[in-house]
Symmetry: C2
């Protein structure tokens, strides 16, 4: 008897049902955070709707997701709109809402034909340690974080408090799906938001926090990314400034082969 | 006889006429680039419409502008929409079009009450030299660039070509308006896009280039920024990767007092 291969939880969590301009998705308890779904999963769901859209041409180049209000557990609608199409690029907007209510997530995306060109990676891959030699970080209580395998090289979270705050906001770690899954554009988006809040690191304590806006840039074509054939990335994150209830975060996602495959930046709200 | 004080060219170039949801603006020859208006000026015009909007509450926190197609010389419409308002933040979208045609620029913005909080600037201001000791960079042919006073500390453009490309994509410079103007949120947005394309630096030559998407984060409240009372910023820019016809760019804008007042990131198209 043939059994259907079990789908990865991440693919289940980011599943969308195609519509004309209105698509559907639903939150997954596996990827829940404290007051709603994990923002990375929401962003990946939005990107999936665009990638699967029949009018989509080219590869994801840039995605910005603005988290306007918490998403409630359950179904949601995605209003997907091709705002402008050019010869080699497309501009999209997506509005996520529930039950005909207010927009709770607002996103824009750029897709582009990634034509061959002069190429140069000026950023150097940070020094690392083999994934296998680092124990996984398991001190996580929130559902979404249990879906990832975090292996910290630098900046392992320590929420024991410290008399010497602020401590460094920098982290360097391997991130993969707990059940290994080949890295694609969807995982890059989700992992862009999978860093713990920088304020937790700088203050060595958990404080109320939420991502407000997330932007991710993709530096490989989908084909080149598939050729990497990897199940984890070297992820680096840092913050430059915490001020008046908001922090920034910058991040890089590296292929083990040394290619910078995505960069990300976000602003998040904190209470401290 | 009293004479009306002459308005700064930048304020004239970013002027908007209020509507209900539809606002108007027009391109300025003073801030033109090669195939359309300077993207920084367009972004500032969009931000001005939001700041002047009667429903606006709080300070700019984040702005993303997607340049979908060139803007033609002349008038344009801004469809301004408050997508979601919360107790202490607002989410906006703006669509710029001309003559009832396609959207040519698509933007989202987040505004927020910048409530006092724990504060920490982990980024350190780069070393600099006094503005007055550096000659202005004047080798610019394009109108918009003539409106700025660029004083390079590192990475002065050199388009003479080089046998040793790639050269560094890093630049550090003072930027002010040529006719001094107090730095506000509008100038920060415009200056975010006022760096020369990183590919020009890395290849030491001018190649076809256009900003595709620009994101700027604001780290001070409007009031704190006004208190700085400055007419120029220390601006740093770099690129991490040039691949398949696109480059990234990261940038920081510093107050002379040492405060990081804005950070910016963009993806741009190049042909090389």
């Amino acid at each position: 008897m043939l059994t259907k291969p079990q789908q990865h939880l991440f693919d289940d969590a980011t599943r969308v049902v195609a519509g004309d301009s209105r698509w559907q998705g639903r939150t997954s308890p596996d990827y829940f955070a404290f007051v709603g779904p994990f923002g990375g999963c929401t962003a990946a769901t939005i990107l999936r709707a665009l990638i699967e859209h029949p009018q989509r041409a080219g590869d994801p180049l840039a995605l910005t997701v603005n988290y306007c209000a918490p998403i409630a557990e359950g179904e949601f609608d995605l209003d997907v709109r091709l705002v402008k199409a050019n010869r080699s690029s497309q501009h999209w907007s997506v509005e996520l809402s529930q039950g005909g209510g207010d927009v709770v997530t607002l996103a824009t995306a750029v897709f582009a034909e990634r034509r061959p060109s002069w190429s140069h990676q000026s950023a150097k891959m940070p020094e690392t340690k083999p994934f296998e030699t680092i124990p996984p970080y398991t001190k996580v209580a929130v559902p979404w974080a249990k879906q990832y395998d975090f292996r910290f090289i630098e900046g392992e979270p320590n929420f024991a408090g410290s008399k010497q705050v602020p401590t460094s906001a920098h982290s360097k770690l391997w991130i993969g799906d707990r059940a290994p899954r080949k890295i694609d554009m969807l995982s890059l988006v989700s992992m862009s938001d999978a860093f713990f809040a920088r304020v937790f690191h700088a203050r060595r304590e958990l404080v109320p926090f939420g991502t407000v806006t997330l932007t991710t840039y993709f530096h490989l074509s989908s084909e080149d990314l598939a050729t990497e054939d990897i199940t984890r990335v070297l992820a680096c994150a840092d913050a430059k400034v915490f001020n008046r209830s908001y922090q920034d975060q910058t991040g890089e996602l590296w292929s083990p082969s040394g290619k910078l495959i995505a960069t990300t930046t976000q602003m998040g709200y904190f209470r401290a």
